[in-house]
Symmetry: C2
Subunit: 193 residues, 2 copies
């Protein structure tokens, strides 16, 4: 398997962590989005949406969208709950991540860390909605070690990716102690360094 | 099962169409988001994110996120391909829908149809990215009847919801003939009127 990804991108790292956790071998091909490498004709032939990550499976077929890729890779593993309702709650968190968390928490980080914008000049909406997303996680983690059930699942993989880097976009995890403790727990479970 | 949804919302209708297609009985509880009904204390107790739709399953447990709900409801049915790669491509389209289609195509429609904004005053980004999403579908549908494989799947359910109403946000499906023909095909397959 080949993983085309930008190692600055949490979406790409989700795929790496999942493959590493499952002991799947792969070749990592670095695509620097800031250098326009996700918009070349060669890359668009692999992923017409021009987004990273994309994987090329061993049989040569492509697959994109980080959460779709990790779901495919983890099928039948402990990262996906066997119980249908738990599996549905995991999926619920993963869609919520892409719709209500990543567009604020990750985008704020991208503006600050990669485009050099001061936090004070960010669109207020990014900080407001990103903060609301972190609070939603804080509430969801009350009294439980992981987002769904007793062990680490793809919901944790998907959400830890940008949550652990939220401070780079101007958020303080000190305001969300359950989230902060969960980040450390997920990093340990996935061996993220 | 109870479905809490706003019948103006494509995200909510996805759940209705899937339940209808599968012959699942349910009670529909209308939540008018324009009247703030998704932000009441009673609704937030069901869905802390304050988003529609949410379903309450027969055993009383809640589930949110339209694409997570329809995945749960359709497990084991013909709406989800048996082949693992086809299933992954379906999921890829569904995440793409929430990240790269709905935030433009559905949001443009919301501003025009429900907030009364003239199309000419929409943020240019909405029309530009919405148009790019429709073009991406046009390319993906070249020479095939549905988004994945030979039959209707959840990818079609998820993407038809706002694509069929794109004209209400200032897009013309006449520019995307394969998409236009696909909309009619999916409406027929799902018996959407």
């Amino acid at each position: 398997m080949k993983i085309y990804g930008d190692s600055k991108s949490g979406n790409c790292l989700k795929v790496k962590w999942t493959a590493d956790f499952l002991g799947r071998s792969y070749e990592w091909i670095e695509i620097d989005i800031l250098q326009g490498e996700s918009r070349t004709a060669a890359y668009l032939a692999i992923n017409p949406a021009g987004q990273v990550p994309t994987v090329i499976l061993d049989d040569g077929r492509p697959l994109s969208q980080s959460n779709a890729i990790i779901t495919y890779l983890a099928e039948g593993s402990a990262l996906i709950p066997a119980d249908a309702y738990d599996r549905a709650r995991m999926t619920e968190w993963m869609y919520w991540e892409q719709y209500s968390h990543e567009p604020y928490v990750a985008v704020a980080r991208f503006h600050v860390k990669y485009l050099g914008k001061p936090v004070a000049e960010l669109e207020p909406r990014l900080l407001e909605r990103g903060g609301a997303a972190l609070q939603r996680m804080e509430d969801g983690l009350a009294g439980q070690p992981f987002l769904v059930g007793g062990g680490v699942t793809l919901a944790d993989v998907a959400l830890v990716a940008y949550t652990r880097l939220a401070h780079e976009g101007g958020f303080s995890l000190d305001l969300y102690p359950a989230v902060k403790a969960w980040v450390a727990r997920v990093e340990a479970a996935l061996k993220i360094t």
